[in-house]
C-alpha cells in the first residue's frame, strides 16, 4: 500500500510537470503474477510480484533561480523487487546535490538448504545524499549522508544441548554514514580527502518455533527437546574512516598516491534463556535449562596505501609501476557467562546448577604487499597490447581461539604466501573485425587454505564481426580457467570452460533476430577426509550446461514486438532445467502516448520434488512522453 501510494504520488507529479511541457518519459502500469509449484523457490530466484509498477521515469529540465537543472531517473518503483530513484539538481559553479534511494526485497527459502530451515523475507532500503559546493572549481567541499536499513523476519536454527532447534528471527539493522571532505583541482595537481563516520545498530530477536528439534532420536536414552528458547542480541559498530588520493601530472608522467584507513569497533550484548531437556558432552551432564549472557568487543583496523606512476613513453605507449600495501589487524574479546540449570550427570546423580564463565580473546594480522609493472601499447596500427607483472605477498598471523570452528588444530600460527602474476592482453581491430585475447598466469609458492591454487591459468578469447549497417553481428567468447594444487593430501584440480556465440541478424531495418548459444563445463576435485570415518574421499563438483536463446524484435511504427525464449539444461552435480519466455507488444498512439503488454514465463525444474516452479507474469503499461 505504502509503495503504491509512493508510485501514485510520483505519477501525479509527473503529469503535473508534463502539463508544463517538461522533457519527461514515463512508463507505468500493473503486473500480475501466476505461480505454481514451489512459490518459495520462485521468490528466492525471481521474486517479481503483483502490483503497481513505475517501470521507468526520466525527467530533466533546465530551471531558473536556486537551481539551474533538475534530473530525476527512476526504475521499477513499486512492486519491486528492486527499485531505484535518483535525483540530481544544482546550479553551475555553485552547488550540486545528488539524492539516491534504492529498495531491495531479499527473500530466501530454499527447500534443500539447511533442511529448509534458513529463510528470510527482508527489505533493504538505502538512501544517499551528497552535496558539493562550488563543483568543478579549484576546491570543492562536499558533505554526504547515507542511511541504510535492513529489516524483516526470518527463520534460523540454534544448536543447544545436543540438538538444533528451529527459531523465528526478527532482524532490524540501521546503518548511518556521514562523510565530509574536499576535492581539489589545480590543473596538474588534483585529489580528494574524505573523512567519514559510520555507525551500525543491529538488533536481533530469536524465539523458539519448533520445540522438537531436528534430531528425532534419543541421546543416551533421553529425548532432547526445548520448551522455551529466546535470545536477544544487540550489536553497535562505529567506524571512522579516512580516504585520500593525490595525483600530479607532467607532460609525460602521472603519479598518484592514495591512503585509506578505517577502524571498526563493535560492542555486543546477548541474552538467552532456554528450558527443556538437553545434554552437554563437555560437561558430561544433562541439564534442564540455560541462562546466558555474553558481552563482546571486536576491532578491525585496516589501512591501505598505494603509489603509482604512469609514464607516457609515446602518445600511445604507456608504462606503469606501482606499489600497494595493506595492513589489517583484527582482535576480539568476549566474556561468555552461562548458567546450566538442573544438571544431572550421566549416572543420574548430583542435580545442581553449574556456571561456566569463558573469557576469550582472538587476534589476526594480515599484511598484503603488491608490486606491479605494466606496459600498454594502444592503437599501434590495428593492435593494442598490455603486458603486466605483479607480485603479491600475503602474511597472516593468527592467535589461538580464532577460527576454532569445530575443534582446535590447524587454526593458528603464521601463514605466508607469495603469488606471482603475469598477464597479457592483445586486441586486433580492423574495419568490421575484432579479435581479443587475454591470458593470465598465477604461480604461488604455498597454499594457506586447501582450495588455494599453486598454479592458475586463465585464457579468454573474443572475436567479433559485423557487416556495415549491422545487418549481421557475430560475437564469440571462449573462456577457460584452470587451477590446481597437486600436493599430497590436497589434490586440488579445477577446470572451468565457458563458450558463448551470439548472432544478431537484421534482414530488414525493422526486424532484428538474435540467437545465442552458451556451453558451460566445470569440474573440480579435491581430496577430503570424511569426519565419521576419517577415510579419504574426493569432493567432486561438476557443471555441464547448455543454454540456447532465440528472439526477435520487430518495430513497424506504431507497433513494436519483442519476443524471446531460452532453455538452459545443466547435467552437473545439481541437474536442472530453466526455460524462459518473454514477449512484449508495444503500440504507440499518435505523438505522446503508448501502451505495452508484457508476458514472461519461467519454468524451473530440479530433480527433487520440491525444486520446481512455473511462473507467469503479465503486465499492462502505459507510456507517456509529452
Amino acid at each position: 500500500m505504502k509503495r503504491s501510494l509512493t508510485c501514485l504520488s510520483l505519477l501525479l507529479l509527473t503529469f503535473a510537470a508534463s502539463a508544463q511541457t517538461v522533457p519527461i518519459e514515463i512508463e507505468a502500469g500493473y503486473r500480475w503474477t501466476d505461480v505454481s509449484g514451489n512459490e518459495q523457490l520462485y521468490r528466492t530466484q525471481i521474486d517479481e510480484r503483483s502490483g503497481f509498477l513505475i517501470r521507468t521515469l526520466s525527467f530533466f529540465t533546465a530551471t531558473k533561480g536556486f537551481t539551474d537543472h533538475v534530473r530525476v531517473d527512476a526504475t521499477d518503483l513499486g512492486a519491486g523487487p528492486a527499485s531505484a530513484l535518483r535525483i540530481e539538481t544544482g546550479k553551475a559553479g555553485t552547488y550540486r546535490l545528488r539524492l539516491g534511494y534504492r529498495s531491495f526485497d531479499t527473500f530466501n527459502a530454499l527447500p534443500t538448504f539447511a533442511l529448509g530451515q534458513h529463510t528470510f523475507d527482508r527489505n533493504r532500503t538505502m538512501f544517499d545524499a551528497d552535496l558539493e559546493i562550488f563543483p568543478d572549481g579549484k576546491i570543492t567541499p562536499f558533505v554526504g549522508y547515507s542511511r541504510g536499513r535492513f529489516e524483516g523476519p526470518g527463520t534460523t536454527t540454534y544448536f543447544l544441548g545436543g540438538d538444533e532447534f528451529l527459531l523465528g528471527q526478527d532482524l532490524d539493522e540501521t546503518e548511518r554514514e556521514i562523510r565530509a571532505g574536499a576535492s581539489f583541482n589545480f590543473g596538474k595537481v588534483y585529489g580528494s580527502v574524505t573523512q567519514g563516520w559510520r555507525s551500525l545498530d543491529s538488533d536481533e530477536t530469536l524465539s523458539l518455533a519448533d520445540p522438537a528439534g531436528n534430531n528425532s532420536g534419543t541421546i543416551l536414552g533421553r529425548d532432547i527437546g526445548a520448551s522455551t528458547l529466546t535470545r536477544t542480541s544487540s550489536i553497535s559498530t562505529d567506524t571512522p574512516f579516512t580516504a585520500a588520493f593525490l595525483t600530479g601530472e607532467t607532460a609525460r608522467v602521472r603519479m598518484t598516491g592514495s591512503y585509506v584507513r578505517f577502524s571498526a569497533e563493535s560492542d555486543g550484548v546477548d541474552d538467552e534463556t532456554a528450558a527443556g531437556t538437553f545434554v552437554s558432552f563437555p560437561l558430561s551432564r544433562f541439564f534442564s535449562g540455560v541462562e546466558g549472557n555474553i558481552t563482546s568487543r571486536a576491532k578491525n583496523t585496516t589501512s591501505r596505501g598505494s603509489a603509482r606512476a604512469e609514464v607516457s613513453i609515446t602518445d600511445r605507449l604507456d608504462f606503469l609501476a606501482g606499489y600497494r600495501s595493506e595492513h589489517r589487524e583484527m582482535s576480539g574479546t568476549a566474556l561468555i557467562d552461562t548458567l546450566f540449570k538442573g544438571t544431572v550427570n550421566f549416572s543420574g546423580l548430583d542435580p545442581r546448577d553449574l556456571r561456566e564463565v569463558v573469557a576469550t580473546e582472538s587476534s589476526l594480522d594480515r599484511d598484503v604487499d603488491v608490486i606491479e609493472a605494466a606496459l600498454a601499447a594502444r592503437a599501434i596500427g590495428p593492435f593494442s597490447m598490455r603486458l603486466g607483472y605483479s607480485q603479491s605477498k600475503f602474511d597472516f598471523g593468527i592467535d589461538p581461539d580464532l577460527l576454532e570452528i569445530v575443534v582446535p588444530g590447524n587454526q593458528q600460527g603464521t601463514f605466508k604466501r607469495t603469488v606471482d602474476t603475469l598477464d597479457a592482453q592483445a586486441s586486433f581491430t580492423k574495419s568490421l573485425y575484432s579479435l581479443g585475447a587475454s591470458y593470465r598466469r598465477d604461480e604461488a609458492d604455498d597454499a594457506v587454505l586447501r582450495t588455494d591454487y599453486l598454479g592458475r591459468d586463465r585464457l579468454r578469447v573474443r572475436a567479433g564481426y559485423h557487416t556495415p549497417g549491422n545487418m549481421l553481428r557475430l560475437a564469440l567468447v571462449a573462456e577457460q580457467s584452470r587451477q590446481d594444487n597437486r600436493e599430497d593430501g590436497i589434490g586440488f584440480d579445477a577446470d572451468a570452460r565457458q563458450y558463448t556465440a551470439d548472432i544478431e541478424v537484421s534482414p530488414a531495418p525493422p526486424l532484428r533476430i538474435r540467437t545465442a548459444y552458451t556451453r558451460l563445463r566445470a569440474d573440480s576435485t579435491v581430496v577430503i577426509r570424511r569426519p565419521e570415518t576419517f577415510a579419504l574421499d574426493t569432493s567432486v563438483h561438476r557443471e555441464d550446461g547448455d543454454a540456447f536463446e532465440i528472439g526477435f524484435a520487430l518495430a513497424i511504427e506504431p507497433l513494436t514486438i519483442d519476443v524471446g525464449a531460452s532453455r538452459f539444461e545443466n547435467e552437473g552435480t545439481i541437474p536442472y532445467n530453466v526455460d524462459r519466455y518473454r514477449m512484449r507488444l508495444a503500440y504507440d498512439f499518435p505523438k505522446h502516448a503508448g501502451v505495452a503488454a508484457e508476458w514472461s514465463r519461467d519454468d524451473y525444474a530440479e530433480n527433487t520434488s520440491l525444486g520446481a516452479f512455473e511462473a507467469d507474469r503479465f503486465g499492462i503499461f502505459l507510456r507517456y512522453r509529452p
Binding site: A92, H118, R254, D318, G332, Q498, I528, L536
Partner: protein
C-alpha cells in the same frame, strides 16, 4: 516523517520548481531534434557543439557538407574529444592503463553515446545487461541463465568500468572495504571470531560464493554445504588452515550434510568460537 516521504516531497518540489524553462542551442537551425535533446544532456551546461565537432562554419557554408564537420568516432575520436576533459587518474581509475583503456577495441564511444544514449544518466549507449554482454558474454550468460543469479544489481553496481585492471575493477565502499559489504552490512563485522574463509582468502567473499550467478543455493560454489566446508576443513597437511570436524559429524545424516544448520554464524560470530550463534 520517513525519508521515503521526504524523497517524495523533494521530488514534488523539484518537479514543480523545475517546470519553467528551456534552453537554446547553436546549430539548432538544421539539427533541431539533436539540439532539443541536447538541452537535457549533462554536457549542455559547459560544452558547445564546436568543442567536440570543431568549427562548423565551413559545414554551414557548404550547405551541411558532412565532410566539413568533425564527428568523433572510435579510438581517435575518444582520444581527441572525450579524454581532453575526462582523462583523470586516481589510485583506482585510469583511462590509459585501465581494464578499458582507450583503444580501437574498446573506447569511450564503444559504451557512451553523446546524442543517442538509451540510458541518459551517464550517456550509456545501451542498458548494462546488453552493453556489457556484448564483450563479456560468459559473465552475462552466468547472470542470465543460472537459477541463482545475483539479483537486483547491475554490472556497474560492483564493477567500475573505468577502473584499473585486475581486482581493482571492483568498487570499494567509502571506507575502502570490499564492495560486497556495502549492501551486505550484516556480514561486515568485525567479529570476535572471524571465519577463516573470509579472513584469509585472497578473494574474500568469492572464496565460497559465485558473484555473477550460480547453480547452487545461496550462490555457493558447491552443491552441498558440507562439500564446500570440507574442502578446507580436511587438514591432511599441516601447512594449511582449517580444522577437522569431529567424528560425530556423520555425513550420511542430512543434519550433517548442512554444516550451517548448526554453524549458523558462518560469516563470523561475537559469541561462539565454533560459529554456532
Amino acid at each position: 516523517m520517513s525519508y521515503r516521504s521526504l524523497l517524495i516531497g523533494g521530488v514534488a518540489l523539484l518537479l514543480i520548481l523545475g517546470a519553467s524553462a528551456g534552453s537554446a542551442q547553436e546549430c539548432a537551425d538544421c539539427h533541431e531534434d539533436q539540439a532539443k535533446a541536447f538541452a537535457t544532456n549533462p554536457h549542455a551546461k559547459q560544452v558547445a557543439c564546436a568543442v567536440c565537432h570543431g568549427d562548423g562554419a565551413a559545414h554551414i557554408e557548404g550547405g551541411g557538407d558532412t565532410t566539413k564537420i568533425s564527428v568523433p568516432r572510435g579510438f581517435a575520436g575518444a582520444e581527441t574529444t572525450c579524454l581532453t576533459c575526462h582523462d583523470r587518474i586516481t589510485d583506482r581509475r585510469s583511462h590509459r592503463m585501465g581494464a578499458h583503456a582507450n583503444s580501437p577495441a574498446v573506447n569511450c564511444l564503444s559504451c557512451h553515446s553523446i546524442h543517442h544514449a538509451e540510458v541518459p544518466a551517464a550517456l550509456v549507449r545501451l542498458p548494462q545487461t546488453k552493453l556489457c554482454a556484448s564483450c563479456h558474454g560468459t559473465q552475462a550468460a552466468s547472470t542470465r541463465n543460472r537459477p541463482h543469479p545475483h539479483r537486483v544489481v547491475a554490472c556497474a553496481t560492483c564493477h567500475d568500468p573505468h577502473a584499473r585492471a585486475g581486482r581493482e575493477n571492483l568498487r570499494i565502499t567509502a571506507a575502502g572495504e570490499t564492495v560486497c559489504v556495502g549492501c551486505h552490512t550484516d556480514k561486515r563485522g568485525p567479529y570476535v571470531f572471524e571465519h577463516g574463509g573470509t579472513a584469509l582468502g585472497e578473494a574474500d567473499c568469492s572464496s565460497c560464493h559465485e558473484p555473477h550467478g550460480s547453480s547452487n543455493p545461496n550462490q555457493l560454489k558447491r552443491a552441498r554445504v558440507a562439500q564446500l566446508c570440507l574442502e578446507c576443513h580436511s587438514p591432511l597437511t599441516a601447512t594449511t588452515a582449517g580444522s577437522q570436524p569431529p567424528s560425530f559429524h556423520n555425513l550420511n545424516n542430512p543434519r550433517y550434510q548442512n554444516c550451517t544448520t548448526c554453524h549458523v554464524a558462518i560469516h563470523g560470530s561475537n559469541r561462539s568460537p565454533q560459529l554456532l550463534k
